[in-house]
Amino acid sequence: MTSKPLKFADEQLKRSPFYERQVELNPRDAWSAWNGYKHANFYYDEQYEYFCIRNLCGTYDITAMQKYIVTGDDAESMLDRLVTRDMTKLRENRVTYVVWCTDAGRVIDDGTVFKLGPQKYMLTCGSPCIAWLRKACFGYNDVHVEDASDNIAALAFQGPTSCETLKEMGLSGIETLKPFGIMTFPFKDTELMVSRTGFTGDLGYELWVDAAHGLDLWDDLYAAGENYGIQPFGEGALNMARLEAGFIMPYMEFNEALKTVHFEHDQTPFELDLGWLVDFKKPRFNGRAALLAEKKRGPKYTLCKLDIEGNKPAEESEIYSDKGCTKKIGYVTSAMWSPVVKASIALAMIETKHMDGELFAEIYYSKELRSYSKVAKCTIKKKPFWAPARAKATPPGPY
């Protein structure tokens, strides 16, 4: 018997190596997509999953994240020219957060670089970047970029009980792993790489294994996490956590420079408050001259963390310098009610010269079909909204 060919077989989304387990845990069919993979918005309940990140532990499938293995004698030089940070300082088995820019100093993407060996790196980022990386190799003799995105199954494993769960799973010594460190463990007939990294601002790890062992990793982790509250979380919960941590998202805080149509609708690292990632001690890197000029001039906008009066999320609000809302000086990029900080918080692009003055957000909301608006005072916060001690502590403690 021949089975009927699937209609639209050519348009089906890719399934992550964890899909078989994930689908059982997603009773609401709450799927969207990321880089061609079927990707969960949430599994059981967004709010609950968010609290797993802050209270227990949870996994977020980052298989769809782009992973590039960069090797060869010129690997370090190539990456050093690509990104704004000093790559020569990155030690083996360490990870660092980076951005890379166009010649005009506009941000193409952000991501992390893992130093896996003397001339072996892994670069991860949210959007495909292979064409730009190929260009970045220009002029080097010995550098090779391999797109390993589909070959590596990866899970972000975040939350206060994550370390305890990994201990339970038998990863001995995991509690000694420092933030941004990497450890590897024998796993079945392969190797499991664990980095103490994440996008939630809380204690957390990222687990990397070859795609064929994805399900094994899932099963071992979930067996170990049974008594530690393990639960998969989707993009909704992640987005809440990252905003509390003050992390930026593509197409929320920044528009990828290579895909930007309108003049200066993309951003510089200084505008994104990522000036600390730009190392002018390096003699050359992409965008250096433009960024140096920008630094001298001062960025037009600066991304700010706002604590906003009241409880209405300031989604898509404009920011004004006066209560009467006559002078517009900025716009909100992401906003939410934070259940752990118990405050209405936001990230907003504000004209740098107005940052020291009074700030007001005009917030629109609706109630049973009627729309309302109110003006709320905003206060700029220097530190992340959420930064528990355990996120930085080694060992991090049981919860």
Partner: protein, 539 residues
């Protein structure tokens, strides 16, 4: 001799809230607490290896957002996580699953009763409407309806305006609602007995009324007017137990400079020339202050730690007659594993949260009959909650603790005083009931803490173990709480105030009483107000 600006008697969560706000205004504040630990009814203690029980209150919903934010309680360790679902168990093995997802809840309820699936939506809309008005009064001092002070008139007008917004028809409904029974009220929406019983439980929690007693409808409202992150009626788990809320308040109070002394029971409020001037501790020490604030309930304040001769005529009697009628018990149990309730769905979100062992409307009324006869219910209503699957800090991994709130258990037994044997027999009644619904339960038990109203009164000082510091009936609410004419936190002795749950808006872990009292005190002292004027989170 040192003289404080204010001494607060009792480090219940309202006492600490009051202290925090007075200290924030720059006052030199001391809190004196009889126990060696703080918290009163919002307390968490480790009584068995690695198990932290919330010994009294166990779920959070009424805590005022404005206060959490204003005192930055998250910074001091407060986190509230909403419970993901609930179960209600009937008499003959029926189980009603309450899901937090609207569509799922609808499908499930429809399977039980299509009528009630619709009815519940209407019920929640009506309850939300009623709750809205009440919520607006929580952070306000009740007006005195007999006063002609501009402020009272203004406040009365505010109330009138809020009611008027409901529309004429609803005003009639509202007034009727205050005097109705939970059963009569629910009959207008629901037909299924188990669903009705599940909703009716909120009408009798902590109160010596039955589901058919007039007044129980308001208690129901009192239990759904709270919220977690704006979700009206939701209840949440405080990470680390309810004691973490008191600790967070303590953190805030201390940051503002308040001093808290534990192990310091007050014997008497010292009154000189009609003015409160300080307190005398049981150890003989005397502490002086310009004002004295009592976090104790009305009866305890006026009949135990005050001299009758210091009070104006009639107050002692009023305090003595303040209605308590303790009716609840609490059993906290450490377990070696998770209990399994018969008939519960294989769904950890549902079968590991709250489980109500209620039976039926009839059996609930029978349980109340026992209380009237001076006995604990032989088939009590038990609300079990398992905090540990959701809170890694309160039990060792893989082990659990269960909070059991039990209705009804009288403060005074018909056959003589409470004894340890009777207390244990009460505990056994509860445990046997759970065992019937979750076979094998008893084998999981590692430790139990059994609390009748007697224990609750002895430890927390809640008279007759009444969880609200006095019944929440219309005669003891709003401008009648604690007594007509004294609802504005000022007491009949000069420089003396009350700030506990015996005052408006009543019991529950809300911090509202303590905050409202602080606002009145600061007004009398001519200080700048440090207390949020309003919750402003409802518009």
């Amino acid at each position: 001799m040192k003289k404080y600006d204010a001494i607060i008697i009792g480090a219940g969560h309202n006492g600490i809230t009051n202290a925090a706000y007075l200290a924030k205004a720059g006052l030199d504040v001391l809190v004196v607490e009889k126990n060696d630990y703080i918290g009163g009814g919002a307390v968490s203690r480790e009584l068995h290896n690695g198990f932290t029980y919330s010994n009294c209150s166990y779920v959070c919903s009424m805590m005022r957002q404005a206060i959490i934010r204003d005192l930055d309680l998250p910074k001091h360790g407060m986190m509230v996580i909403p419970y993901p679902g609930a179960l209600a168990m009937g008499e003959n093995g029926e189980v009603f699953h309450s899901y937090s997802n609207d569509e799922v809840a609808y499908n499930h309820t429809r399977g039980v009763s299509p009528h009630d699936a619709d009815g519940l939506m209407r019920l929640f809309a009506d309850l939300s409407r009623y709750a809205q008005v009440i919520r607006k009064t929580l952070m306000r001092t009740p007006p005195d309806p007999t006063s002609f002070k501009p402020r009272d008139i203004k406040e009365l007008l505010f109330l009138a305006k809020e009611f008027w917004k409901l529309g004429e028809r609803e005003i009639y409904e509202y007034v009727r609602f205050f005097t109705m029974s939970a059963a009569d009220f629910l009959d207008e929406y629901l037909e299924n007995d188990l669903i009705k019983a599940y909703m009716a439980v909120s009408g009798i929690i902590g109160t010596a009324l039955g589901v058919y007693s007039p007044g129980s409808a308001y208690i129901l409202l009192h239990h759904v007017m709270g919220d977690v992150d704006g979700n009206l009626g939701a209840w949440g788990l405080a990470r680390g137990g309810m004691g973490s809320i008191s600790k967070a308040l303590e953190g805030a109070a201390k940051e503002y400079g308040a001093e808290i002394r534990t192990g310091a029971p007050v014997e008497k409020i010292i009154v000189k020339k009609g003015k409160a001037v300080g307190v005398a501790l049981e150890n003989g020490e005397e502490l002086m202050s310009n004002i004295v604030v009592s976090n104790l309930d009305a009866k305890r304040t006026f009949t135990k730690i005050m001299d009758r001769n210091d009070l104006p005529e009639g107050i002692y009697e009023k305090a003595n007659n303040f209605k308590f009628r303790g009716s609840s018990g609490k059993v906290n149990i450490a377990l070696s594993g998770l209990p399994k309730f018969k008939g519960a769905a294989e769904n950890p979100f549902i079968n590991r949260s709250s489980t109500y062992l209620i039976g039926s409307m009839k059996s609930m009324e029978k349980a109340y009959d026992c209380w009237k006869r001076g006995r604990w219910s032989d088939d009590p209503i038990v609300e079990t909650v398992l905090p540990s699957p959701w809170d890694p800090t309160v039990a060792p991994p893989g082990q659990h603790w269960m909070s059991c709130f039990v209705q009804y258990c009288p403060a005074e037994l018909a056959d003589g005083p409470w004894t340890p044997e009777k207390r244990d027999a009460f505990g056994a009644t509860v445990i046997n009931k759970i065992e019937r619904y979750a076979p094998g339960f008893k084998e999981l038990i590692l430790h139990t803490e059994i609390r009748t109203p007697h224990e609750i009164e002895q430890e927390v000082g809640l008279t007759e173990g009444n969880i609200f510091q006095g019944e929440l009936t219309i005669d003891q609410l709003l401008f009648n709480r604690p007594f007509p004419g004294y609802a504005q936190y000022r007491m009949p002795v000069k420089n003396m105030y009350m700030c506990g749950s015996s005052t408006h808006p009543g019991g529950g872990v809300s911090s509202a009483c303590g905050a409202n009292a602080a606002r009145e005190i600061l007004m009398d002292l001519g200080k700048v107000n440090t207390v949020p004027e309003d919750d402003c989170y409802d518009d």
